[in-house]
Amino acid sequence: MVRLAAICLCLLLVACKPPDTDTLIFAVANAPGVLDPRLAGDAASERTNALLYDRLVMLDEQGKPQPQMATWRMLGPDHYRLSLLPSRAPFWDGRLPDTRDVAATYRSLLDPTLGSPHGGALAKVREVVVVNDSDVDFLLSQPDPSFASRLTVGIVPAQAATGRSLGRQPLGSGPFAFVEWRDDGGVLLRRRTDGQRVALVPVADPTMRTLKLLRGEAHLLQNDLPGELYGYLADARGLAVQEGPGTTFAYIGFNLEDSVVASRDVRAAIAHAIDRDAIIRYLFGGRAQKAESVLRPQHWAGVGGLVAYPYDPQRARDLLRRAGYDEKHPLTLSYKTSTDPFRLRIAHVLQSQLAAVGIDLKVRSYEWGTFFGDIKAGRFQMYSLAWVGVNTPDILRYAFHSASAPPGGANRGRYRSAEVDALIERAERAEPAQAAQLYAAVQHRIHEDLVYVPLWYESNIAATRGLEGYVPGHDGNYRALAHTRMTHVQRQ
């Protein structure tokens, strides 16, 4: 027994390494899986890749393209010339990214054998031509006035563009260098300007993430926490909570091929029965803003002035009566959601609010894969989801065009409107100023038709300990890490 105790003690000691106090620890819900910007499709990988790889173009808070590595000129409706900036940063092996790297990156994205999730957005690219040491031409198969906003994939070295191995040994020209994959499943990065080390450490459980921050084992966490935990952190000594507007748009979707919810009166009754203010106040702790459309009004293609469907239970009852439902013939609806406890809590609040106007909402909660599979296959009456990281008006085609019904896109409610289809198609060919008006018209029509019941934009929230200068990005990006400073950090 004594031997056994000694073995156990040894095992516990084997796990011991001195704590690293100089590394900024960022506790994330999911670790980045693939650090190749061409192959990454999940949010955690994309946000980390934005630190490792510079891009030709980046989108600002209004969704407008801004030069990062290159400026652009439209030489013709289907011909763009990208000119590399002399001030661009070198790759981490010391070599300056050149036009061969740009061409190799985008050619590989168009190669179906690579299997890039970004290939679809670049479907109009016919050819990528190196003009000289500073210019690259993109030739399109059809005009695309918004093409520059699609050039947001990180540039990889030409010699690494042929295979799929870059994802494990990344080499980019971004503000951070890859150092190593950590034994805890995280990734360690080093900052170009001052060598500051930053570790992205996966901590799946939200309570544990909170406790790590409280104890000083982590210096930063962002989003993916229940509302009450933010309130708890805001009151904790030594912590700072930063909040910024977000682009994550939550909504209730309908299966418009279902005979019950195909009725606009029924959908309007649901919209008027939901008290969004109460949900935002009590469930989100005020950390969300009411939404009317998938694009924020501040976006260049967004629309202001959409009149909200106000919380009005009496009007909801009247609409239901007009649709043929009353106390004797109550309306029963099925609502699908995931097993996420916070989403389930929202579902039960919605259930209670709809019950007050006479709608019996059956909440069906499924494991994510099954839930999402059902939504894509159209096996639902009502569901709730959120669009995350929406930056371009392409979302309107993707989610509302008739041709975008799954598997061709994400028009999951099978919405069909010849007017909306035509407006989207015209907007895609129009110059930005006119496109903005056409996209506004699209959003007015969608809002009027109540394809979705729009709910809210969820704020981006970061909680920090011993850090200066960190603010969460508008789309949840981590770019502020490039200039975040560690102040004195003490373990509790």
């Binding site: 299997g115 994802g167 104890r215 373990r491």
Partner: protein, 306 residues
Amino acid sequence: MARLVSQLIDTLIVLFGVSTLVFLLLVMIPGDPVDVVLGESAQAADREAMRAALGLDRPLAERWLHFYADLAHGDLGDSLVRLQPVTELIRQRLPATLQLAAAAFGLVLLIALPLGIIAARHRGRWPDSLAQSFALVGVSIPNFWLGPLLVLLFSVYLGWTPVSGNLEPGSLVLPAVTLGLSMAAITTRMMRSSLLEIESQPFLRTARCKGLGESAVMLRHSLPNALLPVITVLGLQLGGLLAGAVITEVVFSWPGIGSLLVDAIRQRDYPVVQGVVLFIALSYVLVNRLSDMLAAWLDPRIRERA
């Protein structure tokens, strides 16, 4: 020798059944691997190209045969999400799982065997009641609740151990205690009831009549006989530990096999799910075979029956 060959054949049959079941289940569950790789916005042509590249356009029987051909070469395929071979992912995660399993198993042995013996020897008195209460509490508290409770006490308020992860000093303590406590509770009960069951056996009466002391009776006669069912339970528990203690690993962000499986299921990373489930099945089968062999070594009657 013949018995070893027969056990090997049994093991292969079990593994064949499990692997076929896993293969078919992954074909049947909702979700499309092409979506995992390309996302929803992919063009139809790209989707078809990827479907062909993944071999999903082939008939089911052909895919099944390919699966076994690759398996025979030790190839479990590549992760759709992490783009690494599944065998490499398992190899990376295995040390953490082994470390946690060994610590938790050691804790089970340290707590459960003495406690079970004490409870049986003092049946009906306060040490027995205390051990029974421990067993009841240990079995009743779920790991996902016990883990955060221990963290609150030992990490946040007392500051003795890290909250989670596996890189800091003492990071193994809380996951091992969380995992070991419930298993120790079960084993304590099993040890106690097994000892009490053989208490009335004639060979113990004979030993006492020969004038052996209680300690000698316990160590030389009661314990070896009472250990047989306990070894079976310990074998099952060790199999479970090697399979990755899913909840504990997720709660404590322990980078082992269990958290790899949970991530893979969430991301619909089919080859990883398939590979990890096969590995878990193999672990279970091997550990159970080992516990059978240990039981046979301890008890000649089992050898004779076999």
